[in-house]
């Protein structure tokens, strides 16, 4: 018995690697459902979008590059689904040039999800009528300020090359006054630029979706109300997906959509629990062998 605990103390680290590998990989292939509980910043962003006046649009700014896709893409998808599910118009732009492809993929995916379930023309989600993808332009200061005045002037043509002015959606989406909230999904400090430029000057409501590492830096802005809500890391995305699924089920939209954030959450949680278990086992072994020695 003593031998076992001593051996456990000096366990070959490759066993630990193997366990980490398995606990992350298995739930990715066979995801198990865990029901994430929404934290207050996630809940308040969700509530804000959910109860936005009907004539107000959701603007999403893609402020990240493909390197951060694993953590941030699920947020983008969930936000788009939410807006379409509650019939709000959506405008999407990109501050990061490498984010252009990300936006197109996400919009195409979510529009297809809704259109495959649509029964009437009003149910479907159409480019130019229900959403618009403005694309990218530079410098970001011009974008953040200019959109407060006239969005169509900042983006004369959209991502697909159509004249922005000619799109029906733009009749009711002239500037920040027509937007209920703007959510910056970012891996960098752009959310703070949105506060400094767009909010202090035009008073637009802002939300933020960020990586787990930068969340600690943004908490003060949630407390102060400058962000109406925040999603942090894969966990934040998973919580939002949970709220959204319940909301969609209420209106008969229980389509069983893929929830990438929640799927990664099972890997994430499993890995955390595995590490916690390792620490506990290590300490038990440590105390037993020490007691034997003394």
């Amino acid at each position: 018995m003593m031998n076992f605990w001593t051996k456990l103390q000096a366990l070959d680290r490759r066993w630990i690697y193997l366990v980490v590998w398995l606990v992350v990989m298995v739930p990715l292939i066979f995801p198990f459902k865990i029901r994430p509980v929404a934290t207050p910043p996630v809940q308040s962003l969700f509530n804000y979008i959910d109860t936005m006046p009907e004539n107000k649009a959701l603007i999403i700014s893609i402020d990240y590059a493909p390197a951060s896709q694993a953590e941030l893409q699920p947020m983008l998808i969930a936000l788009l689904r939410h807006a379409f599910a509650v019939h709000r118009k959506v405008g999407v732009l990109s501050i990061e040039v490498q984010g252009l492809g990300i936006g197109e993929d996400a919009l195409r995916q979510v529009a297809a999800e809704f259109n495959s379930h649509a029964r009437t023309n009003a149910d479907s989600v159409l480019n130019g009528r229900d959403y618009v993808y403005w694309g990218w332009t530079t410098p970001y200061i011009t974008v953040m300020l200019g959109m407060g005045q006239r969005i169509a002037r900042v983006f004369p043509v959209d991502y697909y090359g159509q004249k922005t002015e000619s799109l029906p959606i733009m009749k009711h989406l002239k500037n920040y006054d027509d937007a209920g909230i703007l959510v910056s999904v970012a891996a960098s400090a752009y959310p703070l630029s949105w506060i400094n430029l767009a909010q202090t000057q035009f008073g637009i409501h802002l939300g933020c979706g960020c990586t787990a590492v930068s969340a600690a830096d943004y908490y003060p802005y949630v407390n102060s109300g400058q962000f109406s809500g925040m999603l942090s890391g894969m966990k934040g995305a998973a919580e939002y997906e949970e709220l959204l699924e319940r909301r969609m089920a209420q209106t008969g939209m229980d389509w069983g959509l893929r929830r990438k954030g929640t799927e990664a959450m099972s890997s994430q949680a499993a890995a955390h629990l595995a590490i916690i278990a390792f620490i506990i086992i290590g300490n038990i072994a440590f105390f037993i062998t020490r007691r034997r020695k003394s």
Binding site: L11, V24, T39, A216, Q268, H272, L273, I279, N283
Partner: protein
């Protein structure tokens, strides 16, 4: 002269660097900008020659002496030459091709392609090794050996547990407590350590400018 000229240069450029912080006048700011954008950048670019010279010498010596694993040195040398040629002559921006063609049919070997499909996965995978290393470091090091080790363990434990749904189930305010640890004791410790570090930086910089700290001159 071998020591005096470099020491005088350090003093002069150092005083300039410090003074530019206090003087907003455009003549000084323009000079400071040129110092950063022209002088420092160009000088730094030349220094790479030293590095490339060293790595090539290192591997050619290995190949020459047939030391252990010398065969792999060829991999470094060949990749270095091939990628440098592709990059230098094939250009860095796919929209503006260089003199070297960078694709055969639909197969591209442009620098951007090499970067996205070799450098990025290699870097991301090396980076992700940290997930494993954190687990094994936690297993071996987080033992309640003494009081301070126990505190280290406990704080890490609370933060990790606070991040998973189970933590909230066990003890409802756990996530908020985790945040508190990060915001209060952690801030205090980091700030206290940082004061000392900044004073050390200040002292060392001052000693370099005044020629008291001469380690960087090396021998001779």
């Amino acid at each position: 002269m071998r020591r005096r000229i470099p020491l005088i240069l350090v003093l002069v450029t150092g005083i300039f660097g410090a003074v530019a912080f206090f003087i907003p006048h455009h003549s000084i700011q323009a000079a400071d900008e040129s110092m950063r954008n022209d002088v420092q950048r160009i000088i730094a670019a030349f220094s790479l020659v030293l590095g490339v010279g060293s790595i090539l010498a290192h591997h050619f010596t290995k190949i020459q002496r047939r030391t252990a694993n010398w065969q792999y040195s060829w991999v470094t040398v060949v990749t270095l030459f091939v990628s440098a040629v592709i990059g230098l002559f094939g250009g860095i921006d796919p929209a503006r091709p260089g003199i070297l063609p960078t694709h055969i049919g639909s197969f591209s070997f442009h620098m951007q392609t090499l970067y996205m499909n070799m450098m990025v996965p290699l870097a991301a995978t090396m980076f992700s090794l940290l997930a494993f290393f954190m687990a094994s470091a936690a297993y071996r090091a987080f033992r309640a050996r003494n009081f301070s080790a126990t505190l280290l363990l406990a704080a890490a434990f609370v933060l990790m547990l606070g991040a998973v749904p189970l933590g909230r189930m066990i003890f409802h305010p756990l996530p908020s407590f985790a945040e508190w640890i990060l915001a209060v004791p952690n801030t205090a410790a980091k700030r206290g350590i940082n004061f000392g570090i900044q004073l050390g930086i200040l002292a060392t910089s001052l000693k370099i400018l005044l020629g008291i700290e001469r380690g960087w001159l090396g021998g001779g």
